[in-house]
């Protein structure tokens, strides 16, 4: 699972545009954003999504619920996106294992990396809770994409399209707070 271990992170000081990420989400055909609030994406993504006329926001209590909700949506032909924090992803490992991987379902997760240092790739983070995310996804066979710099935003739509084309989960890791 290639963590695009490019030098993108080192040049990430320019920041991320939340508007551009939301545009990619909408362009990907996402009709439902299912979310437990995440501090990394709270202001740049969740708050404008809650106010906007784009995808319907479904507020949930716990992240594994969201894996199942997105599964149900997928069967109906609707595209959902689970917007969460990596703590919630880690808490939902069994749901991702059973529902997304073993049932081969296109569960798309956008995951804010709490406390990850800007300009540092997740594997190099000094934070244990950040450093372990990619190796865990590797062990599970779940593909992921690092969104560290503005140029990375272009990865979002192809990642979501591929998930639905191939019936596989995908994780989009948001490495810094979008503006």
């Amino acid at each position: 699972m290639p963590a695009s271990a490019s030098a993108a992170a080192e040049s990430a000081a320019g920041g991320l545009s939340g508007d551009s990420i939301i545009r990619e989400i909408v362009a990907s055909g996402i009709r439902f954003v299912v979310s437990v609030p995440d501090i990394t994406t709270s202001e740049g993504l969740l708050r404008p999504l809650a106010k906007g006329a784009g995808p319907k926001l479904v507020r949930i209590c716990k992240e594994d619920e969201g894996v199942a909700i997105c599964a149900g949506l997928a069967y109906t032909g609707q595209r959902g996106l689970l917007l969460i924090q990596q703590t919630g992803l880690l808490d939902s490992i069994n749901a991702v294992r059973g529902v997304a991987v073993e049932y081969s379902l296109p569960i798309c997760m956008m995951v804010g990396l709490l406390e990850k240092e800007v300009g540092v790739m997740p594997r190099q983070s000094k934070r244990y809770g950040v450093r372990i995310v990619e190796p865990i996804l590797d062990a599970m066979g779940v593909g992921y994409h690092n969104i560290e710099a503005q140029t990375d935003v272009a990865k979002i739509r192809p990642a979501i399209d591929a998930a639905f084309r191939d019936n596989k989960p995908t994780v989009i890791l948001i490495g810094q707070r979008p503006s």
């Binding site: 716990k62 909700i69 149900g72 109906t76």
Partner: protein
């Protein structure tokens, strides 16, 4: 207390062929014999997530009735679902819980709070539009049709006892052929 199979038969009499039904664990093995239909959604993983799958289905297909046949142990593993479902408020979602006070699929051990916790009370507090509780089969049989004609989300707690030993072939719930049949049937209508 009511016999689970008799309760399920009462529900089945009011379920249309086009309705989606998500039965959980022990209930599922009874249900698939009572109502064999590709729109039985049987693969929900574990840990009480069936009602969350149901919420996704209900939001994605508001034209279809979505009926969850949950268990008390399953619901305890995913209690937040009550609040999330009430918040989303799908009019087409019906959430039944078969309460027998045990983790029946995992050895029949008692659930925490057995006999003390009120599932109907929790659903009411969470904000379900309508909440019912039944322990008398005749009364349930009289009312279930009208309940399934209501606007959701509706919660129904059924005080039940198991109908006896089951042959549990989990490939009937989790096999890939089951998911394909569901997907094809849902796509067709």
């Amino acid at each position: 207390m009511m016999d689970r199979k008799e309760c399920l038969k009462a529900i089945a009499r009011h379920v249309d062929d086009a309705d989606i039904v998500l039965p959980v664990y022990s209930t599922a093995f009874d249900w698939i014999d009572i109502r064999p239909n590709p729109l039985n959604y049987l693969s929900h993983g574990a840990m009480g997530l069936a009602s969350s799958h149901a919420l996704g289905l209900a939001l994605g297909r508001p034209d279809k009735k979505v009926i969850v046949l949950d268990g008390d142990g399953s619901l305890l593993m995913n209690l937040g679902t009550l609040v999330s479902t009430a918040e989303a408020a799908p009019k087409n979602l019906f959430h039944f819980v078969c309460e027998n006070g045990t983790y029946e699929a995992n050895g029949g051990h008692p659930i925490p709070g057995r006999g003390a916790v009120s599932f109907a009370g929790m659903a009411r507090s969470a904000g379900y539009k309508s909440v019912y509780e039944f322990s008398d089969l005749k009364i349930f049989e009289q009312q279930v049709g009208a309940i399934l004609a209501e606007q959701g989300p509706v919660f129904v707690c059924l005080k039940i006892v198991s109908s006896g030993d089951q042959e549990r072939d989990y490939s009937r719930l989790h096999g890939p052929h089951v998911r394909k049949a569901f997907k094809d049937a849902l796509g067709a209508g």
